[in-house]
Amino acid sequence: MSGSWPLYEVFVRGKRGLNHVHVGSLHAPDDEMALRNARDLYTRRNEGVSIWVVRADAITASSPDEKDPFFAPSGDKVYRHPTFYAIPDDVPHL
């Protein structure tokens, strides 16, 4: 019967976390039950304070075939990191 239930991706925000992190996936008959299933599957060890679920078919993902044109061009541009500044001595917390 699993074939008839859509796949959902689950994101949990931990107590110390600022952002939701992808933790896994599950099957559910609808959005509400997906949220409850996520609670039962992914927060039973006290991991989370917030859950997002989204149908997997609603996610647009980059393709492994496009890996080079997508990601390789940024590989030689280390200057995009904001680390090329001299930090003044009297600015300790920058």
């Binding site: 239930w5 931990g14 409850r36 299933n37 039973r44 060890r45």
Partner: protein, 298 residues
């Protein structure tokens, strides 16, 4: 190592990895365990057994679904609910044992009592599946009725003069609210699903409804402890539970089942230790290992 969780944490690190989960607490830490003055010890022990047995027996029933639920996700959900109830049972049986004061512990109460000494309502013990006794719909129907009733009971029990009962109830309320929600969600979906799923939930509700009257019968122990401000008179729960159940049934487009109640035996039922035929089989499975290998550890 006292705590397996410590093994997951890096030495000297205050930042524990979020994925392991943090901030675990014990519900009864720091709770005064002295029996309040003027409360009869035998009554309090018996009362804790009643509420503890309700949870222990239904936990056993729900655990029977492990690896047999219609979906993997639901398998885990039912097991989680069973574990919540088992936790409630442990707190209550431990309290019963210490108040009784004859040297028994929670394990002896769970594993070494005979059927007539169990005080659970019969709704908790009947076979609602998996197997010939019922199915997922029947199990959900029972869970809806049981958790609605127990939630109403525990909400009142948070005001108990016994600090242990009060703290155990406060923990249980959050768990039971989820159990009730889970059951209600499924009643809506089964009723609104296919013709067959609707048939199954209607049949399940009819089966378990025959054990609902017993939930509101006041046992002398419950009456005495309600008077003492320690327990809850179940008769006082009826209006609220009816209202909750009617709300769910209305939303699902279902009628309240009209069925004949399963009679008490000479006026006695679960709270008196008089159970259905299913109870002996349930206890055989629950107690078999502990009785075959007394004192075994693993």
């Amino acid at each position: 190592m006292d705590n397996a969780y410590d093994g997951l944490v890096e030495d000297g690190s205050e930042e524990r990895h979020w994925a392991f989960g943090t901030g675990f607490t014990e519900a009864l830490t720091g709770v005064d365990r002295a029996v309040p003055p003027l409360v009869d010890h035998d009554d309090l022990a018996a009362y804790c057994l009643m509420l503890g047995d309700d949870a222990l027996v239904l936990a056993q029933r729900l655990a029977e679904w492990c690896s047999r639920a219609p979906e993997l996700e639901e398998d885990v959900a039912l097991a989680n609910i069973a574990l919540d109830l088992l936790g409630q049972a442990r707190m209550l049986l431990t309290r019963a044992a210490e108040v009784e004061g004859v040297g028994r512990d929670e394990d002896e109460l769970a594993y070494l009592r005979d059927e007539r000494e169990f005080r659970n309502v019969r709704l908790a013990e009947i076979d609602c599946g998996p197997g010939p006794g019922g199915d997922f719909g029947t199990t959900i129907a029972r869970l809806l009725v049981f958790s609605s009733w127990r939630l109403a009971l525990f909400q009142r029990l948070t005001g108990s003069l016994d600090p242990v009962l009060s703290a155990a109830a406060a923990k249980g309320v959050k768990e039971l609210a989820y159990h009730r929600d889970h059951a209600a969600q499924w009643v809506l979906r089964l009723a609104g699903g296919t013709e067959y799923s609707r048939e199954r939930i209607v049949a399940g509700l009819a089966l378990v409804w025959a054990y609902t009257e017993e939930l509101y019968v006041t046992h002398p122990v419950e009456a005495a402890l309600a008077d003492a401000g320690v327990g809850v008179d179940p008769a006082a729960l009826r209006a609220e539970v009816d209202d909750v159940l009617d709300t769910v049934l209305r939303a699902a487009g279902l009628d309240r089942p009209e069925v004949r109640q399963v009679a008490a035996l000479a006026g006695q039922a679960g709270r008196d230790g008089v159970h259905t035929e299913a109870m002996g089989y349930l206890l055989a499975e629950l107690q078999h290992v502990a009785r075959s290998m007394p004192g075994a550890h693993w």
